[in-house]
């Protein structure tokens, strides 16, 4: 090996080592804060679909995992008060105009919707994004509804003969959202016993994104 090549390798190696140390140190001083922020975010978004008044437990600590209708593992957050399950929240997935949309669906023990909030979506800004609570109150219309109210065949946008308004300029997005919510409710109806079973193994609390 030529002497020159070796020097360059050493220089590059030293820079890598130096920045590696800086990054490791920065990670070390931020890791706890970042984990705390992630937990706050999670509890905040859960708080919007499972009101504080209905539970006295830590939602994240009492979560369990199960497989959804598509075979993906999802986390089911459970609200309990004095040991009884009062509500459930879990992720539901819909297909919109620009791909997958993720929502958190919160329901009470009877399957009545407590709230739906979007977690992630790629819909067109200004058109398809009206499911975000900060942009429009459209998504609040589902609060209090359940699988029989309205009947299953009415869980559609008006254009398809259902009872829900599409929003201005977009039909595909609301259609996907309504379908996702309906499937989410059906998932609860089909797996009620398992979801309410507090003796089921608890989920590993891990930080996801």
């Amino acid at each position: 090996m030529k002497q020159g090549t070796f020097i360059h390798a050493v220089i590059l190696g030293l820079f890598c080592l130096g920045f590696g140390v800086v990054l490791a140190f920065s990670d070390h001083i931020t890791v706890d804060d970042i984990a705390a922020r992630a937990m706050e975010d999670r509890l905040n978004s859960l708080g919007q679909v499972l009101p504080d008044s209905i539970h006295d437990n830590n939602l994240v600590a009492d979560a369990t995992t199960m497989k959804n209708a598509r075979g993906h593992e999802i986390t089911v957050y459970r609200a309990t008060k004095e040991g009884k399950v009062t509500g459930l929240a879990y992720e539901i997935i819909g297909v919109g105009y620009a791909g997958q949309m993720k929502f958190m669906l919160g329901i009470d023990a009877e399957g009545k919707i407590l709230g739906v909030r979007v977690l992630a979506h790629k819909e067109t800004a200004g058109l398809g994004d009206k499911m975000e609570v900060k942009k429009s109150d459209w998504i609040l219309r589902f609060d209090g509804l359940s699988l029989g109210n309205p009947p299953v065949e009415k869980w559609k946008v008006k254009k398809d003969g259902g009872q829900f308004d599409q929003y201005t300029g977009a039909t595909i997005t609301p259609r996907g959202i309504i379908k996702a919510i309906r499937e989410g409710l059906e998932f609860f109806a089909a797996n009620k016993t398992q979801m309410m079973d507090m003796t089921a193994p608890k989920a590993q609390t891990k930080e996801g994104h």
Binding site: F19, S26, T30
Partner: protein
């Protein structure tokens, strides 16, 4: 000395502007300019990374040999981006929730790399810091202008959601210039970005010709 910094500032802000003259960093300039607010946030984060990495490279320029300079430059930029990402996530979490997903994209921006290669690698720390900073500010201004044009025509608003990004005090920046649902959707979709950028580049060149300047063809190495 002062004259040197004046040239650096003029270069970054106008003469050799990263977007409008060198046509660099077009990936974020297209992807992040749907609204002026996002464009401004992305610009500021990029400016911070550019200033820090230019200064570091200026500082270590005598230790970085020609043969390994490109990997070292990329290492410096990637490290700075990671630091911004970590610190923002931990201590500026509200801002991070809006900008977070775009910060890793700064690595894919070739403007910081181009400045390290053509300026910071040949100059000492302070002028390099100034160059990174002014190039970053020039980039921020360019993105914000593109974002403002697209947002006004596309959604009829200006700086929408600025208060989510920078705090409640910036609520005054949020404006609605056209009635709701009158915007031309194409402007906030990717084609609108290319059209806007093209027209703005033409506009800058017309101004330069009027001022009797020679038109510089785009390219990172035409600088300095």
């Amino acid at each position: 000395m002062a004259a040197e910094y004046k040239t650096i500032a003029k270069d970054g802000l106008w003469e050799n502007n990263g977007v409008f003259a060198m046509l660099l960093g077009l990936c974020p300039a297209m992807a992040m300019t749907g609204t002026a607010t996002n464009a401004l946030g992305m610009g500021l984060a990029t400016a911070a990374v550019m200033a820090a990495s230019s200064m570091l490279v200026g500082l270590f320029r005598n230790q970085i040999t020609q043969e390994v300079r490109i990997p070292v430059f990329i290492l410096v930029i990637a490290s700075m981006v990671t630091l911004v990402d970590l610190f923002m996530n931990a201590w500026m979490h509200e801002l991070y929730k809006v900008l977070g997903m775009f910060i890793p994209l700064i690595v894919s921006n070739c403007l910081p790399l181009a400045r390290l290669e053509s300026f910071a690698g040949k100059n000492s720390a302070l002028p390099s810091l100034a160059d990174g900073l002014f190039m970053g500010i020039g980039f921020t201004i360019a993105l914000t202008i593109i974002g403002a044009v697209r947002e006004i025509i596309g959604s009829g608003t200006l700086f929408a959601d600025a208060s989510l990004l920078f705090g409640p005090a910036f609520k005054v920046m949020e404006m609605r210039l056209l009635p709701e649902d009158t915007g031309i959707l194409m402007m906030i979709l990717p084609p609108g970005g290319f059209l806007t950028l093209g027209l703005l580049v033409v506009g800058k060149r017309i101004l330069d010709v009027r001022a009797g300047k020679e038109i510089q063809m785009g390219g990172a190495h035409s600088a300095a």
